[in-house]
């Protein structure tokens, strides 16, 4: 009698098949198998169908095929699946094959009309960033493009600032939402003509606030900073490199006097590799409790990005993206989902690199959130939607799209796909 077995993949295994290439990724151990052989890719395809639900029968002939036997061995060594003698079961075993399904998927809800989509739409809103003005006398090299790559201050040629009443109306609309962060940026936020009134309003506003400022704008602003209620408030302090260390030390000392050292997070904008050591030395000398690097692409430092920022396979696997993370990356962009930015020209954006979705003072917050959910231009822009990532089996293991992809004008910031 011929011996046959059930070969199965575990439900915590993520399977991706693209253009004759298959990935079997164990979400618990972070181990991955890449398969190119048509025989193996076909076998994985079969396992991944609703009909087979991760279990297929392998006969003696197939088990004696060296290619299949080696693959089964690799799967077993990764704890991604196993073989069971068929005689142990009366029928075919069943495995629940996880498949992402969003309960209130907007694509489904859209069929029911705008009102239906909008029912609980404000629950999607999580962050609002307001560029209250654009005035600044600084000459930072990252100024013009930095805000398109990460949350950063920026200045304009003609002075602009948001109307205080428009800001209040906008934030009041967000009161019942899931908003958990309001960031105030400029220009120089302390140069905003209604700064005291704005702080007075924000002090009573129930959501956590972050004041984002260039470190040089904080000099001599002890009185203004003192007006800010510390409850649920933090400070993002942007520092361009090379650092004027004595002046940064002065700012750090001032924040320490105000008891704000633990609420201050320093963002160092770097453009080349040597600056990493410089920043670490400065942060160490000034005993900065929290600091982060913000690499800035200036159009001429591609080599720095390729060497330091571009991802490789080993790093993707090291982070062990979970099944939950993979599922969310299939449906949306977890880095930008729920975030709204208002620039000092009153333009409202779900992503400052994408089209405007509204105008402050004209459109309600509800309308812009609804618009973004309908178009999906930014919040739901996953790697599955862009080339060449959509052809790569690693596309859901990769970090979500950021502002860097727009600035570098390429979606694959990696060494996986040419």
């Amino acid at each position: 009698m011929k011996k046959s077995s059930w070969f199965y993949l575990d439900p915590y295994v993520h399977i991706a098949i693209k253009q004759g290439h298959a990935l079997v990724y164990n979400t618990l151990t972070g181990q991955a198998l890449e398969e190119d052989s048509p025989v193996i890719v076909d076998l994985i395809k079969k396992l991944n169908t609703k009909k087979h639900l991760l279990v297929v029968e392998l006969g003696e002939e197939e088990l004696n095929n060296p290619e299949i036997a080696a693959f089964v061995g690799r799967v077993r060594s990764h704890f991604s699946g196993d073989l069971i003698d068929k005689s142990y079961s009366g029928g075919k075993p069943l495995l629940m094959r996880p498949q992402v399904k969003v309960q209130k998927d907007v694509e489904e809800l859209k069929k029911g009309g705008e009102g239906y989509v909008g029912e609980e739409i404000m629950n999607y809103l999580t962050e609002i960033s307001l560029y209250i003005d654009n005035s600044c006398t600084g000459e930072c090299s990252s100024c013009a493009g930095g805000y398109r790559q990460f949350l950063s201050c920026t200045r304009g040629h003609t002075p602009e600032e948001l109307e205080i009443e428009d800001i209040k109306r906008f934030l009041n609309e967000a009161q019942g939402s899931s908003l958990f962060k309001v960031t105030i940026l400029g220009g120089d936020i302390f140069a905003y003509s209604k700064f005291t009134e704005l702080v007075g309003y924000l002090n009573k506003y129930s959501k956590p606030k972050t004041f984002h400022s260039h470190y040089l704008h904080l000099e001599g602003r002890e009185e203004e900073i003192g007006q800010i209620d510390r409850a649920f408030t933090s400070f993002s302090i942007q520092v361009d490199v090379p650092v004027k260390e004595d002046r940064l030390a002065g700012v750090a000392a001032m924040l320490a006097r105000l008891g704000l050292s633990q609420d201050a997070h320093y963002l160092f904008v770097i453009q080349k590799e040597e600056e990493i050591d410089e920043v670490e030395a400065v942060a160490s000398r000034l005993k900065l409790a929290q600091f982060t690097f913000k690499p800035f692409y200036n159009g001429n430092n591609l080599a720095f990005f390729k060497d330091n920022i571009f991802v490789n396979k080993a790093e993707l696997l090291l982070l062990k993206p979970s099944l939950k993370q993979i599922f969310s990356r299939m449906k949306l962009n977890p880095l930008s989902f729920g975030k709204i930015t208002v620039l000092s020209n009153r333009g409202i954006y779900a992503n400052v690199n994408a089209k405007k979705i509204g105008v402050l003072g004209r459109d309600s917050l509800y309308d812009v959130v609804l618009r973004e959910m309908f178009t999906g231009g930014s919040w739901r822009r996953s790697r599955e939607r862009v080339s060449p990532c959509k052809s790569c089996v690693y596309c859901y293991l990769c970090p979500p799209l950021t502002g860097y992809e727009y600035s570098l004008k390429r979606n694959n910031l990696c060494n996986l796909v040419d």
Binding site: V102, K104, F180, T292, I309, P399, T402
Partner: protein, 58 residues
């Protein structure tokens, strides 16, 4: 892991988002439940602060 790798930067950002959600008072948890007979699993984020209402989030 290189400290500036996009994978690392994105991971830090996502972790910060999660921390902020907690600070903001919204308690998010993930509910995964099976829905026979389609054998689909729903990925839902429940906002407990609103009585377990299901919403979609990152």
């Amino acid at each position: 892991m290189r400290k500036l790798s996009l994978a690392n930067l994105a991971q830090n950002e996502l972790q910060k988002n999660e921390a902020n959600k907690v600070k903001g008072g919204a308690c998010f948890c993930t509910c995964i439940c099976t829905c026979p007979p389609d054998y689909k699993i729903d990925l839902r984020i429940a906002d407990k602060s609103e009585g377990g209402q299901f919403i979609m989030a990152g």
